[in-house]
């Protein structure tokens, strides 16, 4: 990738994540995600205000899961087009099974394992979430920004997070820049983390003011 292309992407990420209008832009994007997920699940889904974080590699696990071997469902997508990055939705296995039941209109407890149908449903959740988020960014910035097809991974939390870190770390130093939020349903039964991770050259990270 040429230096010019990288700089353009970095500028666009900076515009989206750290400019004066960022709060408004990201708020609108997350609201779109919440609205579409609510429609899809028939539940009232709320979204936490997104927070931009710079997470050292050594702390990645504690930000993403309660324990490294926790059975976790991750929905992983790439951000493509005029912007490159990754996105990850993280569910505990129990929450994921509950969500599948909600989507299928089944009684909670019906789905006992993440079979092909369940994984397909989760993939769709990932698709809708990231597409809803990126559509608002696209509209507001005038750029083409689209999600890749999703990968659904069911495994220990640490292995999912490490795989994401590896893809990011090819570009960066020991920090991940993460836009971090969580979705909850009104009954607080499901809690999922939604991460948007820009692809960053090491020297770009310094421009991000993070909390």
């Amino acid at each position: 990738m040429s230096t010019q292309k990288i700089d353009q992407q970095a500028e666009l990420w900076l515009q989206i994540l750290t400019s004066e209008k960022s709060g408004e832009l990201l708020g609108a994007a997350m609201k779109n995600v919440a609205d579409n997920l609510s429609m899809m699940t028939g539940r009232e889904i709320t979204v936490d205000p997104p927070v931009l974080k710079s997470i050292p590699l050594s702390e990645l696990l504690e930000h993403g899961a309660e324990s490294p071997e926790a059975e976790t469902v991750g929905i992983y997508l790439l951000i493509e087009g005029d912007l490159h990055g990754q996105s990850l939705l993280i569910f505990g296995l129990t929450d994921a099974l509950y969500l599948v039941d909600m989507l299928m209109g089944e009684e909670p407890g019906t789905t006992q394992e993440m079979d092909d149908v369940a994984q397909s449903a989760m993939a769709e959740i990932g698709n809708i979430s990231l597409a809803s988020f990126l559509n608002v960014l696209s509209d507001k910035t005038g750029h083409s920004i689209v999600p890749s097809p999703p990968a659904v991974i069911i495994d220990m939390a640490a292995s999912i997070l490490a795989a994401v870190a590896a893809n990011t770390m090819e570009f960066a130093a020991d920090q991940l820049i993460i836009l971090d939020t969580a979705f909850k349903d009104a009954g607080r039964v499901i809690q999922t983390k939604f991460w948007v991770i820009p692809n960053m050259e090491t020297n770009i990270i310094q421009y991000f003011k993070t909390k």
Partner: protein, 164 residues
Amino acid sequence: MADNVRSVSIGQIVVSKSAADVLVAYGLGSCVAVSMYDPQRKVGGMLHALLPSAANKSTMPDNPAKFVDLGVPLLLDEVLKLGASRSGLIVRLCGGASMLTSPGFKNTLNIGDRNVATAHEVLKSMGFSIKAQDTGGNNGRTAKLYIATGEMTIRTMGQQERPL
């Protein structure tokens, strides 16, 4: 004696000669764990590496143990410092799974495979042969090295711990 679990996180090297210690790399996805153990002196160590090699080689990275090619020699240094004998070392390798696979999803980075390939190259260039390995596939693994015995075990999600 009760096990003293010592976690080996991403980019870490942990070495020990304490019989109570168990070195554990949890949830290796595309990461690899390289272990070295001297059965005579009961000294062992584990490296948990994330990437095959540093992209920019002109300067030493902040955390070289994050990289297989830099981390393996450092692991050797650390176990030797603790009193291991190079000629007696048993070397084992685990991890390097392809985690991000799904129909329609193209992940071309193949970090798991590259980590394993680099580990093989580096160990061979250092004159080591790999006694046992559990690598590849699509599942995360937890790897444990028991310092008291040198036994190494692997666990995947939903399965029991089993010897490597």
